[in-house]
């Protein structure tokens, strides 16, 4: 019980961060499932969402700026796909990945230019930023809301993918890109939809994440982005439940390591986990078995 009480704050923080990683990881896993592309810019979209919120809330009330922020992020995600990835659809995979790195570089530099390199204070959002007490440990309400909201969103997304027409198209495209085109699926709109969903979830994640860690800097998207990607690989890339479970595991482990006083290694742990997973079980926890065609 003693141990439980001591580690509860880290555990709670872990679940909360895990939920936020999960929302970002879904963006990675969906894009990878269809395009076989690691969208390096996804973490930066998450950061940009945070910055948009900072600037909007300076002049507008919170209730208006949240929806505007989400819409703006979605538009940015959509535009990035159209401008930077669509022209390279026939190009080798390396080119499109380099393009993704280029976009990430551009977004970070743009953010650096606009903010002038200073950390921006994220606005306190009423109600979810309030502090509450659970089992004797004080935390923000966002800690409790995150996992619940994550699970609700994931169920909605799974419903969308399993039951709707666009979801069916997505599944078809991720199974076989060329054949699905032959079957009359408008591949470009499917891909756009994927980016829209991914950016929407990244926007929600940024809302939750930056309510906890209030400073937004141009590089604050890079680490969460990479970790979310690791979570996606851990859970089996292309699998949404896998990404969510992977994200929660990584979030919790990371915070427990921090609790043990080894903050230096909390990032290193994530990457070590990635390498172990890739070598031991490259398809991840729930990934489909892929056979390489000769």
């Amino acid at each position: 019980m003693e141990w439980f009480n001591q580690n509860l704050p880290y555990f709670l923080a872990g679940i909360s961060v895990g939920g936020q990683y999960a929302l970002i990881a879904i963006g990675y896993t969906m894009v990878y499932g269809i395009l076989r592309l690691i969208n390096f810019a996804h973490g930066d979209i998450f950061m940009v969402a945070g910055l948009i919120m900072v600037y909007l809330s300076a002049s507008l009330p919170i209730y208006i700026s949240i929806p505007i922020m989400i819409v703006a992020t979605v538009i940015i995600g959509f535009l990035i796909e159209r401008v930077a990835y669509k022209p390279l659809r026939q190009a080798p995979r390396m080119s499109i990945m380099i393009s993704a790195i280029g976009v990430s570089y551009l977004l970070q530099n743009l953010a650096l230019y606009i903010t002038g390199g200073l950390a921006q204070q994220y606005p306190a959002i009423p109600w979810i930023s309030d502090t509450i007490e659970i089992f004797g440990s004080v935390t923000k309400r966002v800690t409790v809301i995150t996992p619940i909201l994550t699970i609700v969103l994931v169920f909605a997304l799974v419903f969308l993918i399993k039951k709707t027409k666009i979801g069916m198209a997505m599944r078809a495209a991720s199974k076989d890109f060329e054949t699905s085109q032959l079957m009359g699926i408008k591949i470009n709109s499917v891909i756009s939809m994927t980016f829209i969903i991914g950016s929407f979830l990244a926007a929600v994640a940024s809302l939750l994440y930056f309510s906890n860690y209030t400073g937004v800097v141009p590089t604050s998207g890079a680490m969460p982005g990479l970790k979310a990607f690791v979570a996606a690989v851990f859970g089996g890339i292309g699998s949404i439940p896998g990404a969510v479970i992977g994200a929660f595991i990584i979030g919790i482990c990371e915070n427990i390591i921090k609790g043990m006083g080894m903050t230096t290694f909390s990032d290193a742990f994530t990457f070590a986990l990635l390498i172990v997973i890739l070598i031991a079980k490259p398809t991840g926890l729930f990934g489909e078995k892929v056979t390489d065609k000769v």
Binding site: A84, I98, G102, N109, Y113, L274
Partner: protein
């Protein structure tokens, strides 16, 4: 033109370049911007070529370059700080545990060797991965190395998150040119050897290469280790250039920059990488600097120009190159005297042909 003649011309050109640099250094103000550009450009050329060896010639998409540079820089710094300076550098760690200093040449070599040893060990598990997984795994390793080097417990060795300084540096612009030049020459020789041909075969088609009797694991490991060796050396040079070392400098953004240099120069072209690294450094350190300053023309305040705008313009240029000029400056071709000669000869032949018609 025979091969021998070509070699002679190339050697003469390089010697001429060095002489010009030497004269420039004698005549011009040593703090002139051009020397900064030349020094840093030479260092980046080496690391870009070493990355090109991996990404362009062997087809291994690795993003660990910054990590290996960090290893090289730290190795060099740790080994060459003069013993009498250690007390002040390692002030929080009682002078550190390394209590000897080695000459500069050995320090640079050790930087490469340490990076290569790490690369070999990392390569054992990681090189089994393919394309994007390899990229992420190497990126992850670079991050782990960076975190470990900033760890307090390693402080007596790495000085924790404090700076390493007071180690020997270079003043002349010739030094980085000569060291980088030798290293690049070695890489070019490797590329032109049977190993190089095997690397290209692996890049073009792994399965076909394996069927032709190329040992995939062995060759990939060689490419990875050699590339890291030279990344380590360039890390040491960068440390000398900057006169201080801090682990937080070698972020993944650095790897991305080097990757973009390789892309601009042309993936699979050594001379392309060299040209583009000088271009990149010239633009980012010198020509585009004016974009960062508030500028007034008369009373008119030029909009947009303020700190950070340079990098924005720069990333937009890079995106345009990535999207529309995927071949980069050189594609997979190499810049050579024979190539230029052929170009002109062909042109004049064409004109002759036209006249005859």
């Amino acid at each position: 033109m025979t091969k021998k003649k070509e070699t002679i011309i190339n050697v003469a050109l390089i010697a001429g370049l060095l002489v010009i640099l030497y004269i420039m250094e004698q005549l011009m103000n040593p703090t002139d911007m051009i020397f900064t550009v030349l020094k840093k450009g030479a260092i980046y050329a080496l690391v870009a070529v070493s990355m090109n060896l991996l990404n362009g010639f062997t087809g291994l998409f690795s993003l660990g370059q910054a990590g290996f540079m960090l290893l090289g820089a730290y190795t060099y710094g740790i080994l060459t700080i003069p013993t009498e300076q250690r007390e002040s550098v390692y002030q929080y760690f009682d002078g550190g545990i390394v209590q000897f200093a080695v000459p500069v040449a050995i320090g640079i070599l050790a930087a490469g060797v340490v990076a290569a040893i790490f690369a070999y060990l990392i390569g054992l598990p990681v090189l089994r991965l393919k394309s994007d997984y390899l990229a992420i795994a190497t990126l992850g390793f670079a991050e782990i190395i960076r975190a470990v080097f900033q760890w307090d417990k390693l402080g007596p060795l790495t000085n924790g998150s404090n700076l390493l300084r007071s180690y020997p540096t270079f003043k002349s612009v010739l030094f980085p040119f000569i060291v980088s030049g030798i290293c690049i020459a070695v890489i070019v020789m490797l590329i032109n050897s049977t190993y190089g041909r095997a690397f290209k075969a692996i890049r073009d088609d792994e399965i076909a290469a394996e069927a032709m009797g190329i040992n995939l694991a062995h060759h990939k490991r060689i490419a990875f280790t050699v590339s890291s060796f030279f990344a380590g050396i360039s890390g040491a040079l960068l440390a000398m250039y900057q006169t201080t070392i801090q682990a937080s400098m070698f972020k993944s953004a650095m790897t991305y920059e080097i990757l973009l240099i390789v892309v601009i120069g042309g993936i699979g072209s050594v001379t392309g990488s060299c040209i583009s690294s000088f271009l990149f450094i010239t633009c980012s350190e010198w020509i585009l600097r004016f974009l960062d300053n508030d500028t007034y023309i008369g009373d008119f305040h030029v909009p947009l120009l303020r700190s950070g705008f340079r990098k924005v313009v720069f990333s937009i240029i890079i995106m345009i190159i990535v999207l529309f000029f995927r071949q980069g400056i050189m594609g997979t071709k190499e810049f050579s005297v024979a190539g230029i000669r052929n170009f002109f000869v062909r042109k004049s032949n064409k004109e002759k042909g036209r006249k005859l018609q």
